[in-house]
């Protein structure tokens, strides 16, 4: 499986990608929503997007909304990975089309738990 990690912080992209790679994902990175859309429009096929909220150029909420508007990207699961922890923000993200929500800071086990809920853990991880 392949995942796209979208965060303006290279540090956070490294942390999230490192956890996902440990779970068997191949990963790509993008520094904001627009760069991520460019990758998807260029033909990058991913099963999962991990999306930060606050980013320059295009924020995570706009990105989720754009992806959800495209029928050919309906198979992509989107998980917000953000410091925006208030209930109202979580509701906004889920209403825009995000499937799951992970609040920073998080542990590798928390990522694994969310992916398990989403049915996105590789078979060997489930065994």
């Amino acid at each position: 499986m392949r995942a796209l990690v979208i965060d303006d912080s290279r540090t956070m992209r490294r942390i999230v990608a490192g956890i996902l790679e440990g779970l068997g994902f191949e990963t790509e990175g993008a520094e904001h929503g627009r760069a991520a859309l460019d990758l998807l429009e260029g033909g990058l096929d991913v099963q999962l997007c991990c999306v930060d909220w606050n980013m320059p150029v295009m924020d995570g909420l706009e990105f989720v909304t754009e992806v959800r508007a495209r029928r050919d990207w309906r198979h992509i699961t989107m998980m917000m990975v953000t410091t925006e922890g208030e209930q109202g923000q979580i509701v906004r993200a889920l209403a825009a089309g995000a499937h799951e929500y992970l609040i920073k800071p998080f542990t590798p086990d928390a990522v694994r738990g969310k992916l398990d809920l989403l049915g996105l853990l590789p078979i060997e991880e489930l065994a």
């Binding site: 912080s9 540090t11 606050n54 925006e84 922890g85 208030e86 542990t107």
Partner: protein
């Protein structure tokens, strides 16, 4: 006196951030005991919060400690050179996560700015210190400060000390 964000809440946030993102162990960030030494080549990372409650979450440390934080966050070798970009990205992200979690404690909805890193944070006239935590990360001093930006006609109502 009760303030909008309590000391212990900020400490728990900082400890959780450092444990989850850097150390895997909450015990490596502890209150600083004794007088705080002067920071050699200080560096500050901060995020501003805007909305009904406006303020700032700020982390201050020595540049050498910032380099150690960046190496830990970016999985660099102990002797690997930390660039200015590495430092801004890594130290800024720590401030971003601390600030985002402070924002979630506020009773009002607000907006989080993007993280900034510089030798000195810009002064906001009338800003009050809501909480200041003197901490030791792996024995090195680090200060976490939450500031409230009080409108001029409400100065003295945030329960902090004017900076």
């Amino acid at each position: 006196m009760s303030t909008i964000v309590e000391h212990d809440q900020v400490f728990l946030i900082a400890q959780e951030v450092f444990a989850s993102m850097i150390d895997g162990d909450p015990g490596l960030l502890q209150p600083w005991t004794g007088d705080l030494p002067e920071f050699e080549e200080p560096i500050v990372a901060w995020v501003d919060l805007s909305g009904d409650w406006a303020g700032r979450a700020e982390l201050l440390t020595a540049t050498a400690t910032g380099h150690d934080l960046a190496r830990a966050l970016l999985a660099m070798e102990p002797d690997e050179v930390v660039t200015a970009l590495d430092l801004v990205d890594a130290f800024g992200e720590v401030a971003n996560v601390v600030g985002g979690n402070v924002k979630s404690l506020l009773p009002t909805q607000g907006k989080l700015g993007l993280p900034q890193v510089a030798p000195v944070a810009p002064v906001v006239p009338g800003a009050v210190v809501v909480q200041e935590l003197r901490l030791a990360w792996r024995g090195m001093p680090l200060v976490v400060t939450v500031l409230g930006f009080v409108p001029a006609d409400e100065e003295g109502t945030a329960g902090g000390d004017i900076r």
